[in-house]
């Protein structure tokens, strides 16, 4: 089979009809060629999009500034005073409650900035200059600890102050916009909304604000801010030795990234360890996702087969095992496969192995440990996958199979021509989430093998790592370890983000599954 | 009094797709107006804008002189029946119908009286204690209508209410809606894709395509005087035959030349051509299948029968002329003798003709009726 078929060139775009005329091999080839051909233009588009968003952002700032100016020029005295006393216009026009909120916010902001905010902001560029030390105190006639700067607090409160300033500017802008809107409403003879109307609309038109208030606050405080903070930490040298209090830490720019990628450092240990662990993480995620997926589907198909009795029982047993908290099964099985564990003990008793020297060291042999975690993960994952796939299998219209049978397809053909395409289509997004979940599958690895066996090759400035360590368990060990290299943990966290983002971008944008969204509906 | 007035109403979706273009319509008090058109023509969107379920991009909608653009559906005093009934599955029929009243904090006694009254009108009293899933499609539709009726809205909106029912039930419900309308006596706006429903229910019909109104008129008007080719083909079943022909003026008389035949345009249409001083030109000729008649040997046009459909009271003949144009003919079976019927089989050659006064003449370019 040649790349040039009798009538089309696979390197060029071909029409849908010509595409249908290709053999399977040719169409696969065609897809691969065009996948790679599309990457440059796709990247260009991506950057264009990003550029557009940035341009839009700046445009809106420019038009905002213009609007702020014109509002001031054309506004009445209430509006003008509001530029300095937030909420004045609202109060003067009868929106007392709203006005008071604006005003209070301004007062709090000014008080904060004068008392502490300014101080933290001044510390931000250096993250502190004076470390705490012991000094002789003549009065007490002893050495006392003199508190210096705390880099952690400098970074923490400094970041909060910056966010607060941005919030203030936004609120100030809203306050001006409000004045403008109100002026226009009054000019057109409308009445303004009062606190009571606002409260009412929170249960109707603005109900989403009510519902989202709590979840979004939680996400902002416990996810967005910490992530932002940790991204900043990646550009510092914050670790156990530089905890910020007894020993200051400071900005180090891209040093940490250079270390990870062995740029100008001459010390390749860390980058080797990172490469090794990253590739095992991807291998693990691949096998963990797809073995579970196909075996789970296989089990579901077996139980679903016509003529198999006790369907509920078989399913029930599997589901039952997934009810037991995972850590119990994982810890127990981990010990079962230990060198002195049940499996080896039983084999010894049954005479499969002769003496203790022949014991199978599941967790101490690198390749075997890797295989074992994957196999045990199958045990863990099959019940869940069986449940999911059963639901989808039952949704495949029966007449598809009937017509396939009439067309002469046997069971195997039916699977490959109907069941599998349908499943892959419906579960496409699930496979992606599952893959990402496995990249970050802390529990299975840590509770089974704790990342072991320790691999001396992976010994680096980050501390020891094992052959089954994933990036996430490595990250955990780095933070929990004696040296607590927080900056390195941040860098690795960012790397996990980058890997996952790239994968997702490819799956979402390049693989054209969304094009046929309606096919199976 | 409940008039509805739409002025230059436009619907533009995010991304710039225009679903409705400059829609203008005055709906009189107690009028029954039907929006009809193929799917995607904007009829449902327009209805939903009246209901307040879609934002109005441009223009205004007034109900009783009050601009309702910024009003919530609940403040517009309208009610609506949905295609899929939209009954609340967890409530009994009684509670479904009572729901709008409950939300308005109507006293319990009044709720009971009103629901009972509505249920009696619709003949669903015995199901009041059931959940919707225990009802048949027709019964569900009645409950949905009941829920819409119970609070005497100013305007009654119906979005394809019959399209989920089977053909027989649909005919029955259609008749019931006509009866119901006499009882409720309010303004109706009804959306359907089915021209039969539109013709039988509407006082006036609004025919739409691609977001534009193609014609507004009474059923008689749109049937007898279609403004354009689209309306002509959309209204009436089987659809109107259309083909290219030449309009020729000979003195004060106009003739249409097609398939070698030459037919005089007589009656009102001939007079109108004269008034308009139309010159010789090409036209698209439209003739409804029921207006095509079998002609004697030596007269009319030669056609070959390709398919004959026996519909009972009439026969639909799908015929083809010598130059390949397809023409459908409706022949009432009552008037046919046995021998005549035997001749109307596939492959037979027959002769057909039609009278000048039933012809519709359209401009080939604009597809508009050249008489209007």
């Amino acid at each position: 089979m040649s790349i040039k078929t009798n009538h089309v060139n696979l390197f060029e775009d071909i029409s849908d009809l010509d595409y249908l005329g290709l053999t399977k091999f040719q169409s696969l080839l065609y897809n691969i060629i065009h996948f790679f051909k599309a990457i440059p233009s796709w990247l260009i588009n991506l950057f264009k999009q990003i550029g557009k968003i940035i341009a839009k952002f700046f445009n809106s700032i420019v038009s905002d500034i213009k609007d702020i100016g014109t509002t001031f020029v054309h506004g009445d005295f209430k509006t003008k005073i509001s530029y300095f006393v937030m909420g004045f216009g609202s109060i003067a026009r009868g929106q007392i409650f709203r006005g008071i909120l604006f005003f209070l916010f301004e007062v709090i902001f000014i008080v904060y900035m004068v008392t502490t905010g300014g101080y933290w902001l001044s510390k931000y560029p250096t993250l502190g200059t004076v470390s705490s030390g012991r000094q002789y105190d003549a009065k007490l006639d002893t050495y006392v600890t003199v508190p210096g700067d705390d880099s952690f607090k400098c970074l923490f409160y400094g970041t909060i102050t910056i966010i607060f300033i941005i919030c203030f500017v936004y609120t100030w802008r809203t306050n001006i916009k409000q004045n403008k809107i109100n002026e226009e409403l009054i000019k057109n003879g409308h009445s303004l909304k009062h606190a009571k109307d606002d409260a009412k609309s929170l249960l109707d038109e603005e109900f989403h604000k009510t519902l989202l208030a709590l979840p979004i606050t939680g996400i902002l405080l416990f996810t967005v801010f910490p992530i932002l903070f940790m991204v900043l930490v990646a550009f510092t040298n914050y670790d156990g030795a530089h905890d910020g209090y007894s020993n200051l830490f400071t900005w180090v720019g891209l040093t940490n990234f250079n270390e990870l990628f062995n740029i100008n450092t001459g010390n390749s240990q860390l980058s080797l360890a990172f490469g090794e662990i990253l590739s095992w993480t991807l291998i693990w995620a691949f096998f963990a996702t797809f073995t579970n997926y196909f075996l789970g589907m296989f089990v579901a198909i077996m139980i679903n087969k016509k003529g198999i009795k006790l369907k509920k029982f078989w399913r029930g047993v599997l589901v039952l095992t997934s009810a037991v908290p995972q850590f119990i099964s994982l810890l127990y099985i981990s010990k079962m496969f230990a060198a002195n564990g049940l499996v080896n003990g039983m084999m010894l008793r049954l005479g499969i192995i002769k003496d203790l020297s022949q014991v199978i060291r599941f967790w101490e042999t690198p390749t075997l440990a890797r295989i074992t975690v994957i196999v045990i993960n199958i045990w863990i994952g099959i019940p869940y996958l069986m449940l999911i796939t059963t639901g989808i299998l039952m949704n495949i219209p029966e007449d598809l199979y009937e017509s396939a049978k009439i067309d002469g397809a046997n069971a195997v053909q039916q699977f490959f021509k109907i069941t599998l395409p349908y499943m892959l289509f419906v579960t496409g997004p699930y496979l992606l989430t599952s893959f990402i979940g496995n990249i970050n599958n802390f529990n299975v690895i840590y509770l089974l093998s704790t990342g072991g066996p320790i691999n001396p090759k992976l010994l680096s400035s980050a501390g020891a790592a094992g052959d089954t360590d994933l990036l996430i368990t490595w990250l955990f060990k780095i933070t929990m370890g004696a040296e607590s290299k927080y900056y390195l943990a941040s860098v690795i966290g960012i790397m996990i983000f980058v890997v996952v983002s790239i994968l997702s971008l490819i799956v979402y944008n390049v693989i054209p599954s969304t094009r046929n969204e309606e096919d199976y509906q | 009094m409940s008039k509805v007035k739409l002025t230059d109403v436009k619907k533009i979706y995010n991304g710039g797709v225009v679903a409705v273009h400059d829609f203008n319509l005055d709906i009189a008090d107690k009028e029954f107006v039907v929006f009809v058109g193929p799917s995607g023509c904007g009829k449902s969107t327009t209805l939903r804008m009246i209901a307040g379920l879609e934002e109005i991009s441009e223009g205004t909608i007034e109900i009783d002189g009050l601009v309702v653009n910024d009003l919530q559906p609940k403040d517009r005093d309208i009610s609506m029946v949905f295609q899929n009934y939209a009954l609340y599955p967890h409530m009994t029929v009684f509670e479904n119908i009572a729901f709008p009243l409950r939300l308005r904090k109507t006293p319990n006694e009044e709720v009971f009286q009103k629901v009972k009254e509505v249920a009696e009108i619709l003949g669903i009293t015995e199901y009041l204690n059931r959940k919707p899933r225990a009802l048949s499609g027709g019964q569900r539709q009645r409950v949905a209508i009941g829920r819409a009726m119970v609070r005497n809205p100013k305007v009654f909106l119906m979005d394809e209410p019959l399209s989920n029912l089977d053909a027989k039930l649909r005919n029955q419900m259609r008749a019931e809606i006509i009866l119901l309308r006499k009882r409720i006596d309010t303004t109706f706006v009804y959306v359907t894709h089915d021209q039969t429903e539109a013709m039988t229910l509407g006082d006036r019909i609004v025919i739409m395509k691609d977001g534009y109104i193609k014609q507004v008129g009474t059923p008689d008007e749109v049937f007898d005087w279609p403004h354009n080719l689209f309306v002509a083909e959309f209204i009436g079943a089987p659809k109107m035959n259309t083909f290219k022909a030449d309009l020729v003026r000979e003195g004060d008389d106009y003739y249409v030349k097609a398939f070698g035949a030459k037919i005089l345009v007589d009656g009102q249409k001939g007079d109108m051509l004269k008034e308009k001083h139309v010159e010789n030109r090409e036209v698209i000729l439209g003739v409804r299948p029921e207006h095509v008649v079998l002609a004697k040997q030596g007269e009319g046009i030669d056609v070959t029968i390709q398919v004959n459909e026996m519909m009972g009271s009439e026969l639909h003949l799908h015929t083809i002329t010598t130059d390949g144009t397809q023409i459908i003919v409706r022949v009432p079976t009552v008037s046919l003798s046995h021998e005549e019927r035997a001749k109307l089989t596939n492959g037979e050659m027959i002769r057909i003709s039609f009278e000048g006064k039933v012809m519709h003449l359209f401009d080939p370019e604009s597809e508009n009726n050249i008489l209007i």
């Binding site: 519902l211 709590l214 078989w314 810890l331 | 939300l103």
Partner: protein, 288 residues
């Protein structure tokens, strides 16, 4: 001829069914064995070490008694139970608010919000722990006081796990909302009077998964509790119990007993609500 062929097909299907039954029986055994072993070993008295057999030579409840009297297990269990209970309530409220809003309300910034959350999800959740630990320790919610700290950590970001329940809400016909709006309901009334009564399966699913998650969490719990035994949950406590070779040898059978104690209530709860769990998983998980 025809009959013969017919017989052939029948015999073939009987053969394949037999093979399937064999596989299923083997699977059932493989899947149940660890739990049967776990239970058996928890009753063993003769030695606390790992041994090469499972049926105890001496039976008794000593391991259980020791677990409750000599270790902090009751505290761990109580901690986990309280965490589970509070998380189940608060997280359910948060997740349902979030998923309902994203599924059934339309507002400016909805798509953008979903995209931002998707991208945030690409960061490993553990990363934020470094900061959160520090802040929690400032306010004294780590170590022995881990319970409220852990609850905060579990609950606060739970809004990001809206996918499954959004998938459920997406399947409820939108015309119900529209009908209710026309009937005069506010969004709030639609939420309470129409959609919530229809959403029993997903509410139970959300409560169930929210309650069960803290029983299995190890990473966050370990980080926040560190070495403070009275701040641990069962997972960290039991793992700690067998963390080293020496403690493993001394506590192995007691660990088994602990596993049994934890597994029983969770399993019973799970099995009694299995119907809803299956509905949630098959209905929503796939849409991701």
């Amino acid at each position: 001829m025809a009959e013969k062929k017919h017989m052939g097909a029948k015999a073939k299907s009987r053969l394949s069914n037999t093979i399937i039954y064999i596989i299923l029986v083997v699977m059932t055994i493989v899947w149940l064995i660890p739990f049967i072993f776990l239970v058996l070993e928890s009753f063993r008295l003769e030695t606390t070490h790992q041994v090469g057999y499972v049926i105890p030579k001496q039976w008794g409840f000593d391991n259980y008694i020791k677990l409750f009297t000599k270790t902090d297990f009751p505290i761990w269990f109580g901690n986990t139970f309280i965490i589970g209970l509070v998380v189940a309530i608060v997280q359910t409220i948060i997740v349902l608010s979030m998923s309902y809003t994203l599924s059934r309300l339309r507002f400016k910034g909805r798509k953008a919000m979903m995209n931002v959350m998707l991208v945030l999800g690409f960061f490993p959740g553990f990363l934020s722990m470094i900061l959160l630990y520090k802040v929690l320790s400032w306010v004294g919610l780590t170590g022995s006081n881990s319970v409220p700290g852990l609850i905060l950590v579990y609950v606060a970001s739970s809004g990001m796990g809206y996918y499954v329940s959004k998938g459920f809400f997406d399947t409820i016909s939108r015309s119900l909302d529209e009908a209710a709006r026309i009937d005069g309901a506010t969004r709030f009334q639609i939420f309470t009077k129409i959609i919530m009564p229809l959403s029993k399966p997903i509410v139970i699913y959300t409560i169930l998964t929210a309650f069960m998650a803290p029983w299995g969490d190890f990473m966050f719990a370990k980080y926040i509790a560190h070495a403070a035994s009275d701040g641990m949950n069962v997972a960290v406590g039991l793992q700690n119990m067998i963390g080293t070779q020496a403690s493993l040898a001394a506590n192995y059978t007691m660990f088994c007993a602990g596993g049994v104690i934890v597994a029983i209530p969770i399993t019973i709860l799970f099995m009694s609500l299995q119907k809803y769990y299956v509905e949630g998983v098959t209905g929503g998980a796939v849409k991701g």
